[in-house]
Symmetry: C2
Subunit: 208 residues, 2 copies
DNA sequence: CAGCCGAAATACCGTTCGGTAAAAAAATGC
DNA sequence: GCATTTTTTTACCGAACGGTATTTCGGCTG
């Protein structure tokens, strides 16, 4: 049996699995199979635990799904958002953001598309708590983008409007990826979109 | 050819339901509950028939879902596309298209959002036939839009690129509606988007 | 060592799932 | 009237579902 490597205080039998890793496995199952399409047997098998352990640690299926959404946001979502800090111009920043998104949406070791944008958004239509949570996540992303665009200072249009548009296009990229688009197809679409949204990119930066 | 019940000259017991109407009911159940989330009992109850009748007429659950996708496309999708024929300019045409879409996405007597954009697109991640069908539908829409923009003749950018962008924004509207956005929220977002995409029009200030 | 604690493992719960066999019913053709 | 055709109805199937009670096990503590 595996022994928990971290400090193992506490009196009873130690946990035989890493909860965060198990949550990641559950997330991937939901991501591919959807909420109702993911069975507890599939989940526990992927997580490497059995059902009573799942219930003790994560609660029921729906609570686990809520945790999976948070996990997605805290890992993949946060990684994409970090790309926003790299660019010096709005164009650079947005291009880098979409580039990261397109890579994540088509990663070979993940199900296609965005778990939140496809699975959770579908479920949002019939589950109010999920709906509110996902809507909130999306609104936060727009706030974050708006603030970043204001910092950059060179947005050609109202920063909040630009943030709306960027997030909206990101949603469509997620759907396309779910429908089988490859990374290069997404990148090509993104380039065409950016050329219309922000004007054609100059071949040589006239920084002189 | 289809046989409706007024022109019933078959030999056996006549159908006691209208297949098209039953298909519409099934579509609405899938639309709200998702594919796996919709049970045969819910489906048959909404359709007003029992399971053997369902199987005789529509095949199994998955085949019924495929028919529901076609039904959605043939009714709601076609109605939206018809809006494209009304405008005289690209701006008018696109605005009318989005207006129809936003109304359909938030209709009071339908589940929220777009059945194809949320439910079917989610399922596309784990069902190749569904994936191909939905991807095809989307591609056809882009072709149709491209052609219409060419006819109109006043597109400020490459017509195919514009069609891509319009369809992409439509996908994001569908997701927003699934997440609870109201029609006026969608319309406001659309107006801000169009003012950036096609230049400002003296209608609403771009700030909410 | 014994006692205890908490997690793991097994086996099981009632319900619902998607799907179907068999029989009853409604229309037509002779 | 009576057989034929096609549908509706009823009842049912084995499997899988989400969720748990119970027991076993590993490790700390006194």
């Amino acid at each position: 049996m595996k022994v928990n490597k971290s400090a193992n205080r506490g009196r009873g039998r130690p946990l035989a699995f890493d909860p965060n890793q198990a949550l990641g496995a559950a997330m991937r199952v939901f991501w591919l199979k959807g909420y109702e399409g993911a069975s507890l047997s599939e989940l526990t098998e992927a997580m490497g635990i059995n059902k009573p352990s799942l219930y003790a640690r994560f609660g029921d299926k729906r609570t686990l799904f809520l945790a999976a959404i948070e996990h997605y946001n805290a890992t993949i979502g946060a990684r994409n958002l970090k790309q926003l800090l790299d660019g010096k111009t709005v164009r650079e920043t947005v291009a880098g953001y979409f580039s990261a998104i397109n890579a994540a949406l088509t990663s070979a070791d993940s199900p296609p598309g965005c778990m939140i944008g496809s699975v959770a958004t579908d479920l949002a239509g019939r589950d109010e708590e999920i709906r509110a949570k996902v809507a909130n996540l999306l609104a936060s992303t727009e706030v974050f983008l708006t603030q970043r665009f204001k910092e950059l200072g060179d947005s050609p249009v109202n920063e909040n409007t630009l943030a709306e548009i960027v997030v909206s296009f990101g949603q469509s990229l997620a759907a396309r990826a779910r429908l089988g688009a490859t990374q290069s197809e997404l990148d090509a679409r993104t380039a065409r979109f950016l050329s219309v949204l922000l004007g054609a990119e100059e071949l040589a930066p006239p920084d002189r």
